[in-house]
């Protein structure tokens, strides 16, 4: 061991603002893009949509019964930015739900989705009595759906970020 120094000095540089910077980052990432109401009578689809959109930084409340979704919306209409709803649902179709949602809060965006071929006739009957902001053909990947939602809420999102 002769000739070797008896003392080893280690210098570790720690950023002073390490924690604070990181917290700031986390806060920024945690900020939801928008609050969504998701309605699909197929519980599997409702679950997958909810999980996928949550991972993409949306706040999501999902329902399989449109009547319950409407009840929730009536109490929290100002909290929601967009409703994503299936069209063909027993009890209350997505078209009727969209109409009621728009009556309560016309500022909320509505995107309807369907597993059926999107038929112009099907929707021409809806317009102009129901203002729908977009349509989505199922199945759709979460990334494409996220893009579609972001496109639809563009203005609202900017307003949220101001």
């Amino acid at each position: 061991m002769q000739g070797l120094p008896s003392l080893i000095v280690m210098v570790v540089r720690l950023p002073l603002s390490y924690k604070k910077q990181d917290e700031k980052e986390d806060n920024k990432n945690d900020k939801p893009l928008a609050n969504l109401l998701v309605v699909d009578d197929d519980s599997d689809i409702a679950h997958v949509l909810k999980q996928g959109l949550l991972k993409n930084r949306f706040l999501v409340t999902a329902f399989t019964h449109p009547e319950e979704a409407l009840k929730n919306f009536q109490s929290n209409s100002k909290d929601y930015c967009l409703m994503l709803s299936d069209i063909r649902m027993p009890g209350m179709s997505g078209i009727r739900l969209a109409r009621k949602v728009k009556e309560i809060n016309p500022n909320v965006k509505v995107v309807l989705m369907t597993a059926f071929e999107i038929n112009d006739n099907e929707f021409s009957k809806v317009f102009p009595s129901t203002q729908v902001d977009g349509f989505v053909q199922k199945p759709i990947g979460i990334k494409n759906l996220t893009d579609k939602i972001l496109d639809t809420i563009g203005e609202t999102k900017r307003r949220l970020n101001e």
Partner: protein
Amino acid sequence: MISRSVESSDFESIMDWFKEGIEDGENGILVYPNLQTFRQIYTQYVKDHLIAREEEKEEEEQKEKGNDDDSNDFSDNNNNRRKGQLLQMPRIILIATFYDTVNAVKHNLSAVGVDVQSHIDHGSLLIVDAFDGYYPNTDGMKKLVATLSERARKEGRIGVSVISNMGFFFLYDVDGAASELISYEASLSSKTYGGNIKGFSCYHARDYDNLFDSQKNDLLTQGQKKSLEITESATDVPFDT
């Protein structure tokens, strides 16, 4: 009105009503509690008519071969009628789906062993989107059924069964839809003598419950139509809505 109510767990009674409760030339109303039950019904119906019938026919032919000497022993009218039916071409089954896509119905049928494509190719099975049948007006469905009825006669088939999901009429507006629906149901007579069509108008309970009692009564054309209301069994596991 011959209205019956049965729990979804009593599947045998449900299928009996489907097979025997509604005769050729009659239109009946079915109210189902959830899509799972409805899927079970139409898959079983197709199985019974297209698969089981083929098997029975084969058995009957085997018996015929083995009992040539006793061929005059068929004195029972029911047996003769059954035998006669077996010798006929099978029914044409039309499924007008609304809450399931056409592909989903095909998938459900395949899952219970129905060779869907073969029956479609042989003209015994037709699956359509109810929307296309009822929109822009209900004449589309009526014309389709009339064409199938005519084809069944020409091909010597037993008849036509129409299993139609009525969800289309609840798509837009309940108030407006009810009058359209009632007039459509009224146009389907409860009984046509000599007719070869068995019609089943199938309603999801949550759609049906949107109607007022007076509208439900009108739907049953002032009590002349047979109806079966299936209620959810306590043992049902919620599968969907």
